[in-house]
């Protein structure tokens, strides 16, 4: 069994297409400007169907995490971390959250509130050690 691929539909294609190109895109309501994630066709704040996206800067902080030991999926070699991160968005004080994998950080070094940077690989996004200048 190989790693599951993202499930892409009309409502969330922008997200996974962005990740495949090396960017986390967050839905932004054109009418009221609020941000939302996960994707939804309608703005929860004002019910507008019109939206655009903003690109996360690549800087993030760790909101929570778990280290999965059992069952170990066949595509993992040992206990692996899954993280919930707060994304920095330019010119916004909102910090939308996403779930992603971790890359380049030892499981035991994970600390809530630690700074992270986004890393993109094989159509997925991961949180890696913080570095200057945001995402590559």
């Amino acid at each position: 069994m190989t790693r599951p691929q993202p499930v892409i539909g009309r409502d969330n294609a922008y997200y996974w297409e962005g990740v495949a190109k090396g960017a986390v895109l967050i839905q932004k309501c054109t009418a009221c400007g609020s941000l939302r994630h996960p994707p939804s066709p309608m703005c929860p704040e004002c019910q507008s169907l019109d939206w655009t996206t903003v690109k996360a800067t690549g800087h993030a902080t760790l909101h929570s995490y778990t280290i999965c030991h059992h069952p170990l999926p066949p595509w993992e070699e040992g206990p692996y971390a899954v993280v919930l991160i707060d994304l920095e968005i330019e010119d916004s004080d909102r910090r939308p959250r996403i779930v992603c994998g971790a890359k380049g950080i030892a499981n035991e070094d994970l600390r809530i509130e630690m700074p992270l940077s986004l890393v993109f690989e094989n159509g997925l996004v991961f949180a890696g050690p913080a570095r200057e200048g945001g995402a590559s």
């Binding site: 599951p4 499930v7 996960p38 280290i67 030991h69 919930l84 994998g101 997925l124």
Partner: protein
């Protein structure tokens, strides 16, 4: 006078199969055995059933259950969504249907071979979710990263709870120790005769950090059914009345299926808060009026959160509330006196409702003295439900 379901209906029958790891028979057969047992307990002939309610996840169609029971005509049948969050809601739907005159005798059921058949803990369901459906896309945000099991979905919230309130793995472990102490003296429990210590909990293997094996409920085969009728009809039946004085569902702002990670604060269960406000309002009761509770325990951390949502203690105070044996028999609030899903069996919360009925009847193996009102909750992390059951 405000309109209310409170006290209008009663649970008059409970039935169950044995709880095992390999039932050796079909889920439909387990279901029918449980339904027949519940109707026998109520003293109601199976042909008199005219309503059936179950989980949308259940595999036994109401028409096949009705056929097996020899039901003359079904007038009400409904499915409740969102996994174990449906448990108490099946009773709420039954109560509402009876109060509205849509049915007279409603059986609520849940039966599965969850251990010998498809195991929820395998992660297969999340991995295999595909297609255009919104729920498949939902699971698809997590499955590529291996966040695929109920334990892992809960662990993410539990870790943040620990960070915010300074809770520890031992705080979670105390929930399991109490459940296994109660299971140890319940002959129907899988873990009958097998209590654990906090040291056992601490040395059990990590499943998905911070959750250890003994933080996780069992996987079980079995079935449970409950019979609901009007309070008026209940008075004419042989058994002691167990009135439904509170029955409610809840889903809250930005609700997700097991992954409500996008709210400002992920250390609460606001959907259970919605349930709590309703059942307290309906019943006119509060935490001090509850002698024992059945709090859904698929994973120990959310037992703590539920105690906070229902107001048994303040936010972040549940670790202190349970520290000195308060949730054991003889404590301030004995919890899950049948052993819970950690100790008795995982029947998606329905075995807990049966235990609440026994506590009100005074027939539980681990009976709490002078029980007037019991709180029961359903699955957490999902849209959920709750009940208050009371003596007449």
């Amino acid at each position: 006078m405000k309109a209310s379901l409170s006290g209008a209906t009663a649970i008059v029958g409970i039935g169950a199969t044995e709880f095992s790891k390999d039932s050796g028979r079909s889920e439909l057969q387990l279901c029918l055995e449980a339904c027949k047992a519940a109707l026998d307990d109520a003293g109601i002939a199976p042909r008199d059933v005219d309503g059936l309610v179950t989980f949308s996840m259940d595999s036994s169609p109401s028409i096949m259950v009705g056929r097996g029971l020899g039901v003359a005509e079904l007038r009400y049948f409904s499915l409740v969504d969102y996994g174990g969050g449906a448990a108490c809601a099946t009773v709420a739907h039954a109560a509402a249907a009876i109060a509205a005159g849509l049915a007279d005798v409603v059986v609520c059921y849940r039966a599965f071979n969850e251990r010998s058949g498809r195991r929820f803990g395998s992660g297969d369901a999340a991995i295999q979710a595909r297609g255009e459906s919104p729920m498949a896309q939902h699971f698809g945000y997590y499955s590529p990263y291996g966040l695929i099991t109920p334990a892992a979905w809960v662990a993410m919230a539990a870790r943040r709870y620990m960070h915010k309130y300074g809770a520890t793995s031992e705080d979670f472990g105390r929930v399991a120790v109490a459940a296994r102490a109660h299971a140890a003296t319940n002959p129907a429990a899988w873990f009958h005769g097998r209590p654990i210590t906090l040291a056992d909990h601490q040395s059990s293997k990590l499943i998905t950090d911070p959750l250890r094996l003994l933080d996780c409920c069992q996987e079980s085969d079995g079935g449970v059914a409950l019979v609901v009728v009007s309070a008026e009809r209940a008075r004419d039946l042989p058994g002691k009345e167990v009135l439904i004085t509170g029955a409610a569902q809840g889903s809250a702002h930005d609700q997700q299926m097991m992954t409500s990670y996008y709210r400002d604060d992920i250390t609460g269960l606001p959907e259970m808060g919605t349930v709590a406000r309703q059942v307290w309002s309906q019943s006119g009761l509060g935490p001090d009026d509850i002698q024992t509770a059945v709090i859904y325990d698929h994973f120990t951390p959310f037992v703590l959160t539920q105690l906070e949502e229902f107001g048994f203690c303040g936010r972040g105070e549940a670790p202190d509330f349970i520290r000195d044996g308060a949730v054991h028999l003889g404590g301030r609030l004995p919890l899950n006196t049948h052993g819970g899903q950690l100790g008795e069996a995982y029947i998606h919360g329905m075995n807990g409702i049966a235990e609440a009925v026994r506590q009100v009847r005074g027939t539980a193996v681990n009976q709490v003295p002078d029980v007037h009102n019991v709180l029961v909750t359903a699955g957490t992390g999902v849209p959920t439900s709750g009940l208050v059951l009371s003596a007449a």
